[in-house]
């Protein structure tokens, strides 16, 4: 049995603007979305993330190529059929309204209900399952206007689940959330993809989180191309570093994170051990110093203070201030 749900063949996306030649955003892409996978779409602002998402969701026509689910071109399907294939979660906050969480999630059943939208027993069971899957059962009767951003996002994901589509597209689902909530939402999406067999595609700016949770990453290079692969493959082949190379920021392959590269202010040797030495090193790196055992300048870390050039400092902040003022003098 084929695991592929969606296939894009030689897809070129962009905009047609009047009579002028169309503006091509992404060129000649061949993509696949498979059952039970979480795919993160990454790229810098303006690389074409939302244009691609809109085209794959059949909101926008492609300039060339096809997007197929099974044998059917989604851009030729009536939207009533599409509603049973693709559900979406958008960045824009659903306007605060007098709807309960239950009513909101139940809206996901719209493609299946009669003209009044009346829920059958089967519909209710699915709504309850969707609420449970996103951990929102206890919220069912709360008005959506009273939810926190994280709860609201969960409920919107629940609505997409209730729509029972093999594909779920999410536009920056972790935007506006604090870190614990971002991790929670990503973990939820990953679990849902794996357990329910849906293909989940989301765009995000959260590189670190995407690297840790995605089964696959689609990386837009900003020049109209797209690299797809397991996150680690893209790190090792240097695609990450190339895509996000820009002034002042570097992708650190050893830690899988981004580092601010400040102007190098000098070299220091940190002497000491344990947690205090580790955070001292972090602080000095942040302040723009290179940490090296060969450095002549030495910072000593003790249990209660830091020693440098014969003086003692009670906090890292005081130490950095002293280092900086010396640096400014010598400059």
């Amino acid at each position: 049995m084929s695991q592929t749900i969606l296939t894009a063949q030689r897809l070129t996306v962009g905009y047609r603007t009047g009579r002028r030649s169309p503006k091509v955003v992404l060129h000649d892409l061949t993509l696949q979305l498979e059952r039970g996978t979480l795919v993160c779409l990454l790229g810098q602002n303006g690389a074409g993330k939302s244009t691609l998402m809109r085209t794959l969701a059949a909101v926008q026509k492609p300039l060339a190529g096809t997007v197929c689910v099974g044998a059917e071109d989604i851009h030729r399907l009536p939207i009533s059929r599409l509603a049973r294939l693709i559900s979406i979660v958008l960045t824009e906050r659903a306007q605060t309204s007098l709807l309960s969480v239950y009513e909101l999630v139940a809206l996901g059943r719209l493609p299946y209900t009669d003209w009044t939208g009346r829920l059958s027993a089967a519909d209710r069971a699915i709504v309850e399952w969707a609420l449970e899957s996103v951990g929102a059962t206890a919220l069912a009767e709360r008005p959506i206007s009273e939810l926190s951003d994280g709860e609201r996002q969960k409920v919107m994901i629940g609505r997409a689940l209730a729509q029972e589509t093999p594909l779920i597209f999410l536009d920056e689902p972790t935007a506006f959330l604090d870190l614990p909530r971002r991790v929670e939402i990503m973990a939820l999406l990953r679990r849902l993809a794996h357990r329910t067999g849906r293909a989940v595609l989301l765009s995000t700016h959260d590189l670190d989180l995407a690297l840790r949770s995605a089964d696959r990453i689609w990386l837009l290079d900003g020049e109209g191309g797209l690299q797809a692969g397991a996150p680690e493959d893209l790190v090792l082949n240097g695609a990450f570093a190339r895509t996000f190379a820009s002034e002042g920021v570097a992708f650190d392959v050893t830690s899988g994170t981004f580092k601010l590269c400040a102007e190098v202010k000098g070299a220091l040797d940190v002497q000491g051990n344990g947690l205090r030495a580790f955070w001292t090193q972090r602080a000095l790196e942040r302040a723009g110093f290179v940490i090296s055992e060969q450095a002549a300048d030495i910072v000593q870390v003790t249990e209660s203070s830091w020693h440098w050039h014969g003086a003692s400092y009670s906090s890292l902040e005081a130490l950095i201030t002293a280092l900086r003022s010396k640096n400014a003098d010598s400059a």
Binding site: I79, L82, A83
Partner: protein, 364 residues
């Protein structure tokens, strides 16, 4: 697992109470509406005993023969008109607020009533300017004169707005077009007023005050079916309206044909607002306030509950306003528009200010 099943029991209990609250509101409104209907028939410049009202309704002889005439020939069509107009404006308001996702829109936002005003202004202010009296000008068109003129104006405006709706990309541009058309038409009315004579201006101003009293048994067979069609159409649009609560992008992703939904909503609202304006004048306030009060009463924006609630509540408030405007026991009649705002605004303020969160009360 124990806590989980507890949560489910709790949830179903809450669901059950939520449903019964909504049903209770609908039943209470229905009873109040019937009571109000009888009251409106009984009270006026001459008060008729309730017994005689019932007798008149059943076609039996009343204690004074005049009572039967007053109730069936004068007050009955007036009460029915208020009932229809109130329901129509409320439902029109709900639809516009949902379509534009804007709590400050009302059924007239598309310029329909402005079109009707222009029709009426043309007839009252411009037709027969050489004629002796205003009554001649209107008399030429019979007692359907004003209604016909307003209908033509509203219909022209409707076709314009629908034409724009076919092409407009976003619903916001539609809103702006409606507003601008409204301004343009108002400007034309102002010009007509400027070049008109005082008696004609007075006649026009009287029309703008609004009244349910101008509709007779001869006109009701026209007004009622139009409003009936508009209300039926709005009920047929429950699903798209509910989907639109989440915005157009979500609605489309759930299989709603946006263009068709938009045209349907506009057509329904225009029929409702146009018919009411044509026969009763531009009646303000009901269309913007009743939807909000309804949402607060039933605590949901789900149109399956909201539309019936707004219909009943709109009819109720319209009849109440008409009752007050007639100043029971006196021979004077106040402008209906002033009354709808005067009794409506404090109600809305009270309800809104007593809400825990202002934002919730005023969101569509």
């Amino acid at each position: 697992m124990a806590t989980h099943s507890e949560a489910q029991v709790w949830q179903s209990a809450r669901l059950a109470t939520g449903l019964s609250r909504r049903s209770a509101v609908l039943i209470a409104l229905l009873i109040a509406l019937i009571g109000m209907f009888c009251l409106v028939l009984a009270v006026g410049s001459v008060s008729v005993p309730l017994e005689d009202v019932l007798r008149a309704l059943l076609g039996q002889a009343t204690s004074q023969p005049a009572y039967a005439t007053i109730v069936t020939q004068f007050r009955m069509p007036r009460a029915l008109t208020a009932l229809l107009a109130g329901a129509a404006l409320a439902v029109g308001g709900v639809q516009m607020q949902t379509l534009f996702r804007n709590p400050l829109t009302d059924p007239f936002v598309l310029g329909i009533s402005a079109g009707a005003s222009l029709g009426v202004a043309l007839v009252v202010l411009a037709v027969g300017t050489t004629g002796a009296t205003v009554l001649v000008g209107i008399g030429l068109l019979g007692d359907f004169g004003l209604a016909a003129a307003a209908s033509v104006g509203a219909a022209l405006m409707l076709s314009l707005v629908l034409g724009v709706a076919q092409r407009a990309r976003s619903v916001l541009s539609l809103l702006i077009v409606g507003l601008m058309l409204g301004y343009a038409v108002s400007a034309m009315v102002s010009l007509l007023l400027y070049f008109s004579v005082p008696e004609r201006i007075q006649a026009y101003v009287n029309w703008t005050f609004g009244s349910f009293g101008g509709v007779t048994w001869r006109q009701l067979p026209i007004l009622a079916p139009i409003i009936g069609v508009g209300l039926a159409l709005s009920l047929a649009l429950i699903k798209p309206l509910n989907a639109l609560l989440l915005g157009e992008a979500y609605a489309q992703s759930m299989g709603i044909d946006l263009r068709r939904a938009r045209i349907g909503v506009i057509l329904s609202t225009s029929l409702l607002a146009g018919a009411v304006t044509a026969f009763c004048g531009p009646i303000g306030f009901l269309g913007i306030a009743v939807p909000h009060i309804s949402r607060i009463l039933i605590r949901t924006a789900d149109h399956r509950w909201l539309l019936p609630t707004a219909m009943l509540l709109g009819a109720l408030i319209a009849m109440l306003a008409d009752l007050v405007a007639q100043v029971p026991g006196r021979q004077i009649i106040l402008p209906l528009n002033a009354i709808t705002a005067l009794i409506g605004a404090p109600i809305v303020l009270l309800i809104v200010l007593s809400q825990r969160r202002l934002r919730d009360a005023f969101s569509a």
